[in-house]
């Protein structure tokens, strides 16, 4: 991704030179600069236009996906619909990918990103995050007959299954170097390994292990929350104060009607069950410690 960004920067420079050579930069970039137009649309501009453009995932069930009628659905979309309604405008959904969410905001091609966007310090440099509406961390699932309820339950000689390159692998390697890891490249391999008893437990994102335990009988999530909590929040273009404030106020207001709990029950309960609602949902932007 870093390398990709460097290439991109170099190319932007090359294109700039080409544009100057072609003599067209004079008119267009000046017009762009002198008008002092920002890339984003303010709250008033959005309301005036009658539509809000919201970037969502179209293939990440149950957060953002498209149903068989071509309608966007999911936890993020449920929230997006409410935002549009309370703004008094129509929602226009743009299908985004994990890799282009920041670009969409920085070029103002969408007003809001609601695509399971985890808040990180790095991303805060590029976009402005509103209050969170969900929280995720790591989780550990293990067989019913020998549930691992804390990392202390893991005995010498026991191995913990992880998928290479995931947060779980990094976290355990850094914070619990004494725990032996059994690494796999793909989800399916890790799943088979757990079912064959090749490890005492499987550590992964808690949403993943929760969904797994729900779908496979005989397994329990003994540790639903491990390590630091990550929050998921809406994001807007950097500097779009009016829209950011409005979204923050909206999230606080929605807390009064327990909106995100309702949202969870409508969209996530099928996948994660009711037991983990409090673990995952963040109401009024307040993350429980």
């Amino acid at each position: 991704m870093k390398k990709f960004k460097r290439i991109f920067a170099v190319l932007t420079a090359v294109m700039m030179i080409v544009a100057v050579a072609a003599g067209c930069s004079d008119t267009s970039s000046n017009a762009y600069n002198t008008s002092k137009k920002t890339v984003y649309r303010t709250l008033d501009e959005i309301k005036e236009s009658g539509t809000v453009k919201i970037g969502v995932f179209s293939d990440k069930n149950p957060f953002g996906y498209v149903d068989e009628n071509g309608e966007y659905q999911g936890y993020d979309v449920y929230f997006a619909k409410r935002l549009a309604k309370d703004l008094g405008v129509k929602a226009e959904y743009v299908s985004t990918e994990a890799a282009n969410r920041i670009e969409y905001l920085q070029t103002g091609k969408v007003d809001i990103i609601l695509a399971n966007f985890t808040v990180t310090d790095e991303r805060k440099e590029e976009v402005d995050f509103a209050l969170p509406y969900m929280s995720v961390s790591l989780g550990v699932v293990s067989p019913d007959k020998k549930v691992i309820k804390s990392l202390n339950d893991i005995k010498d000689g026991d191995e913990v299954i992880v998928i290479s390159g995931t947060t779980a692998e990094t976290y355990l390697t850094e914070n619990h170097p004494d725990i032996k890891l059994k690494k796999f490249d793909a989800y399916a391999q890790a799943k088979t390994a757990l079912e064959n008893g090749e490890g005492a437990a499987w550590a992964n994102d808690n949403t993943e292990v929760i969904a797994y335990a729900l779908q496979n009988k005989g397994y329990t999530v003994g540790i639903p929350s491990l390590g630091s909590k990550d929050t998921i929040a809406p994001a807007v273009s950097k500097g779009n104060k009016t829209l950011l404030n409005w979204i923050n106020n909206e999230i606080k207001a929605l807390g009064k009607e327990k909106f995100f709990h309702k949202n969870y029950e409508k969209t996530l309960a099928d996948t994660y069950g009711k037991d983990y609602e409090e673990q995952l949902v963040v109401e009024s932007g307040k993350v429980k410690k």
């Binding site: 090359v14 970039s29 969409y104 920085q106 779908q215």
Partner: protein, 225 residues
Amino acid sequence: MQALGIDVLLKGNNFIRLIDGLCTALRISLVSVIFSIVFGIVFGIVMTYKNTVIRVVSRVYLEIVRIMPQMVLLFIVFFGTTRMFGLNLDAELASIIVFTFWGTAEMGDLVRGAVSNIPKHQYESSYALGLNKAQTYFYIVIPQTLRRLIPLSINLVTRMIKTTSLVMMIGVVEALKVTQQIIEANRMTAPNAAFGLYLTVFILYFLACWPISLLASYLEKKWSA
């Protein structure tokens, strides 16, 4: 049927959405190919000139296309133009621009090869008949070049259709993206639908490309008869 996930396709508008996605993919690649052929012929002929400036410029262009992943080009055209000029290109238009930019380079190189493969004497016998340079290109060089290009450009069309799946990166929803959407939307109820869906997409692509390759072999046969 259930095991293959075909039933998932029949739910709601899924199949229509898939066809829609396929049409988007074909539209982008066919429009791009047509532009690529037209611009590629001009670019290829220009490249045969022994002018240093032309050589350097076309070299740089070809290298950029060769080195640059198409995805980077898509980002530059779709997001980069907004950053620099405030232009807000339609995602499909941006895709066509990128694919044409890429296709013109490839076609141009093929055309250059085909043009320089035409013997010097063909030009001379045309000049000797009193045809001027433009007439020579129009009646003698380009028609012969086109015939040599047919099999090569079919290859380019197929590769372009394959590469259209990248346009999902700038928000264009084409056949493969629709497939992923359908698979994800049904991952609880039909976890094994992926195979059947990809198989369907494969068959659809095949049906779409089949006439193109039929046309190509018809033209090849006609011209070599």
